[in-house]
Amino acid sequence: MRADQANNVFVVLSNVMEEPAVKKDSVEGLLEDLEEIIDDELIPVIEKILHTQKYGIIESVKNLCKDISLYLYFPELVNKVVAGFHRPPQKLGYRVIWQQFFEDTSGRERTSVLPEVLALADSVPTIIHTDSGEKQIKCLNLADKIVSLTENNYLDLLRYSKEKNIDLAGLLFLFSLPSHKMYRNQSFVVIPENMDIHNTYSDSVSKLIDILVIQGKECSEDVLKCYVNISKVFVYGNMVNESSINDYCTQRHILIEKFNSLSEIFERFKAQKNSIINLGYKYYMKNILYEISWYLSVKKMELEEPLVDINDNLLFKDDEGSYNYLKNLQGRYSKDLDSTIQIYTEYRNICQKLIQKIGQMQESLGIDEDGTCLNQHIKMDEILLELILKLSVMHKQFPEPNSRGILRNYCSVYKQNFGRNEVIDVILNDFLGNEQTKSDLEIFRNFQMDSIVLKQKKLDMRHQLSLKNEDCAKIISSMDVLLRSFEKRILGEYCIKTGQIELAKKYLFDALEMGDETAGKVILDSLNITAQDWNLLADRGVREAAFQIGKELNPQRYDECLKYLHIAASKNHLRAITMLGKISYDMYNENAEKSQKAEEVIRYFRTAIKKGCEDPVLKEAIGHIYYDLGNYRSAINYCEEADTAYSNYLLGTIYESGLGCVSDKKRALSYYEKAIISGYTAAQTVYEGLKNADIKQSVLRLTPEGSWLFKGNAVHCTKTKHKSNYSFPDEEGVKGFLDRDKPFLVTMPTGYFEKCRHDIKSFLLNKTKYISLADYYMYLWFKNTSRDERKGRRVAFIEYYAHQMCVSTYVVDQLGDNYQKEPNKADISHTRTKKNIKNDIMLLKPFKKCDWEDIMKFKTFSAEGNIDEKLQKIGVKMVDNRWEDNMLRTDNETLGKIIADIMKKQ
């Protein structure tokens, strides 16, 4: 080798081995910024997110940077249709391409200069682009530096590499050659057969290709798959697996054109007029990045759902333990929600940074913000649609000031480029919550695209689109992603239909595992399952399974059974609810935790009845408990509806004693009879007793009208003519009567008693028992109302006698357990001159400082029939006075107890 030639080799080599000294070019600067944002910001945020594809996303973003960097290094690729010549058979292919584009360019006969040497590097991909006069040959070396070569350098390099066996792929990633014969709007990339993993840009190079040129026998599905962005394949020569390739291409919307030779293909390119905007990288980037935003939006939704439930439940405080647990749970969910929102914000900011950088790059290459002429790029259609779908979910969950505008904007870009107005309208209307038209939905339903996001949207809208399970199953099985729970369930159901039981089982159990309860029901209904599966189903809240385990009530695992019954009951399992009620009722009857159990029984059985359980025993039990609780009205209602032997017996006792009702001996007797006939023999004795009993009545009562009643009959008494011309019983007469007939109890209006002479007063208090009507009514009212009804209430009794009024007020404590008479003494006003009862009432002492509105808040009773109407007229709500009559019918023993009780209260 001659020394100068050797030096020449070194010079040529050194040319391409130059290392970048300082990266001050904006191109590399931008790329480095991008890498920095990914490494320092994106990765740390993504770390906090539980997304199965997140590392794949980082890789995609990094790859995207690499893809873009090719455009930055070789701007001649921008806005060109890029044709890739895949592995042309060495001799013919290179020679033909060379002849076509480079021969006779400088008057030098290349073929004679390179008789044996192939004119293109056969291990380094080579870009051929339109010569815009600079005639510059470039290469990208392993140090990521763009190096310029003269024509001679280039040819020498190729020659030496052949002669000296220098492996150029060990030094270079890419060549770029200008040719003035190259067609406008196009660039070619010749992709060598042995470009391999050592070429960092191999993937990015294959992504550049819009049209693949390939020889028939080389063409296979596997090769086509490497070129993810191609929209056309030009094939020359005979194809081997033509039909399978046709299928593949149809599916991917790739057009195949056949040619006899490469020269024909060149002619075809010559005729191709269109250019292309191939730098929609902002969209690419957004589509990749928004995968995570989309995921976070869905996650936010998933977190909010249970929170609503929990918050609802927190309104009631049942027992301390579960309340605290719920409170805790609420805290956890809210915290998760907050951090999801925070991560979203962080992530969104980083995305914006990255997208902005990409925007800058596009700008530096002279590409507009949002290119409009995107429609030639096969993937852009899909990417833009996916972007719109993702945005519609994101903006719903994380709305921004101009969410609607942003989405509308994307939609119009899509419509401009790809049409499909109806499809886009469905998505937009779904986002805006507008009504959809039938025809749009029909078109959306039939619109096909190989996009997971679109498929998922269709599945989400399956009811609206009236997709059958079968249709859904078809869509789902074409998706190569992690399925959501309901999708698995639908597949499972479909598998059952087609008899693939094992597969069905797998899908359904997966769905159940992911929280789809319906899947549990399908499993129960259609599959044979093991004992272990029962537990699994029950644990996931499948009510029938929970009930089956719970109903055994196996004493060895009583608690567990109870737990499962509770689970079943919470899912509205009627039999479970009934069963739980019965368990509590049994315990109630055994006197265990009586008050709590009473409450439970009533709650369970009422729910069961509401949900349609017709077992009369339930009503009987409720009636029984109300009876025990002294809520006789409710007891009567439930017992009457139950109409069982025992409930009839209870009714008998109620009517016999007039509990919460007018005592009715006849009615009582008939209920006892019914009870006896339907088998409650214990009623026999009471029945006999009642039949023969004489009701003891020994109450002396002074009516407001001024008559004395004893044992229900009027008693003769001397009356003194009152100065108001109203006759009223003489006190002396009363005294005599008391001495003679010894009544058990004397009642009279409060005011009258107050007015009695002192000696009569003490006589009354010593010889017999005296309570005021007001006290007595208050007592009865208290006994006959529910806690809720009476807690915190003020109650007033207005007694009206001999044209005078007297009022007593009572106040019930906040729990509803006790009441007290208020210290205000009753006031009596002479109402002869005052006709207006409203004014009268307002003049009464306890009300003196009240507005009428306040007075209306009192629960009011009156002791006289006459006044009731008047009170009602002015809007005072009355409670009926039947108790008064009851008092007369109460036997002395009961009465004694009542009085003792009242005295105790006072």
């Binding site: 000294a21 001050k24 060990g170 749970l329 929280g515 737990k563 509770h566 689970i567 919470s570 729910t607």
Partner: protein, 405 residues
């Protein structure tokens, strides 16, 4: 035997330079691609699988684990290096550009590495004890080629000086075997300095990254500071703090002979104080040393003791496997803790579900209960996944280990 036999050899007398045929052969040797490495492929695949599993776990220190795994993956890619360094502890020598690294290394290894600001310093160089003198270069595509002294000289000097050919992207690291370095348990790593004073911010960052990447793989570290600087400055501190090195660091003030002993003493004491108060790393000692005189001015025999300690702790360990196991155990522990937490949660819910009788309220608990049960199931599955995927990873690494041996 000295590394560069003919010390007076002038540059024209390099055969690779004089005989272009040989020169081209040398370059050819370095850029020759190898076929696909199946082990390498399976390593990538298995790492992807590991990340997939990792993505499904809810971890506290995911980023840390991810980075460690990336680090391991990087190490595994440098298959040849693993072979070369097996059983040795790597002692990194770091410091700013002017700290006198090459000189220091020559001094402790008794060799003569090229000094100066040439591109050598941008190629990581290991010095290892061996019976015979030998130099190896590991190329960008993981081939290992033997280079004689002239070849190294040609690559590091003549070619670059004459033709501006850059080799730092072609050669990942150089390994110098020499009987003169007397610690068989230590591999000394000379890294590129991290700040050329004349370079832009970007390139500084890049250098920094490279230096950091390399220093992060070392087991021990000697940090050099030019005594003329007079102190450990913020840059030093920042860099040291950012490293992953777990063991104690020896800090050496070089070129000690230029200062009087009293001043040296002051400087050392001040540095000790600075490191103790502002650094976050364990410091073995701070000494003042002169590489040319091979003499320690302050710090007695700290340097010898430090080297001896490293040499003695070295052991025949397949460190990568251990690291992988450690990560696996960490993951399993975390999963175990999570599993326990869910257990407790389930127990609590169990109690509530048995006790609460308000069926309308139970619904919320049932939902949570079934969620916990599912989570528990998923945790178990993930545990199996972790065990299986790490099992695969370990078997791939041991396969590699055997392949290398």
């Amino acid at each position: 035997m000295a590394l560069f036999e003919n010390e007076t050899m002038n540059e024209e007398a390099n055969i690779y330079f004089d005989d272009p045929k040989k020169g081209i052969e040398l370059i050819n040797k370095m850029i020759l691609r190898r076929g696909k490495n199946i082990l390498f492929e399976s390593e990538r695949l298995i790492f992807n699988k590991v990340y997939q599993v990792l993505a499904e776990l809810n971890l506290e220190n995911e980023l840390e684990i991810y980075k460690t795994l990336e680090n391991i993956s990087g190490k595994m890619k440098e298959l040849q290096k693993i072979k070369l360094l097996e059983g040795k502890k790597v002692l990194g020598i770091g410091g700013q550009f002017s700290a006198g690294k090459s000189c220091f290394i020559n001094s402790i290894t008794n060799t003569r590495l090229p000094e100066g600001q040439g591109p050598t310093t941008s190629i990581a160089t290991y010095t290892i004890n061996a019976d015979t003198q030998k130099n190896l270069a590991i190329t960008f595509n993981d081939s290992m080629i033997e280079l004689d002294a002239q070849a190294i000289d040609a690559i590091t000097h003549q070619f670059s000086e004459q033709y501006q050919m850059g080799f730092s992207y072609l050669i990942k690291s150089l390994v110098v075997y020499t009987p003169d370095f007397s610690y068989p348990g230590i591999a000394i790593l000379d890294t590129p300095g991290y700040s050329k004073p004349d370079s832009s911010k970007k390139i500084r960052n890049r250098d920094r990254c490279m230096a950091k990447e390399q220093l992060n793989t070392v087991d021990y570290l000697i940090w050099l500071v030019d005594v003329e600087n007079g102190e450990i400055n913020d840059k030093d501190l920042e860099f040291i703090s950012s490293l992953d090195v777990k063991s104690e660091i020896l800090v050496v003030f070089t070129k000690a002979s230029v200062k009087p002993k009293s001043e040296l003493n002051e400087i050392v004491q001040h540095a000790k104080h600075t490191l103790a108060s502002r650094g976050n790393k364990k410091i073995y000692d701070v000494i003042a040393y002169d590489s040319k005189l091979k003499e320690t001015f302050i710090g007695n025999d700290s340097l010898e003791r430090y080297l001896k300690m490293i040499n003695e702790t070295s052991e025949d360990s397949w460190d990568i496997e251990e690291q992988i196991q450690r990560i696996r155990d960490q993951l399993l522990t975390q999963l175990g803790t999570q599993s326990k937490m869910i257990q407790t949660e389930i127990k609590k819910l169990d109690a509530i579900l048995i006790r609460t009788s308000n069926i309308e309220h139970i619904a919320a608990f049932v939902k949570e209960y079934s969620k916990c049960k599912s989570e528990q199931e998923i945790l178990n599955k993930n545990k199996q996944k972790v065990i299986s995927v790490f099992g695969e990873l370990i078997s791939v690494t041991s396969l590699m280990k055997r392949g290398i041996k």
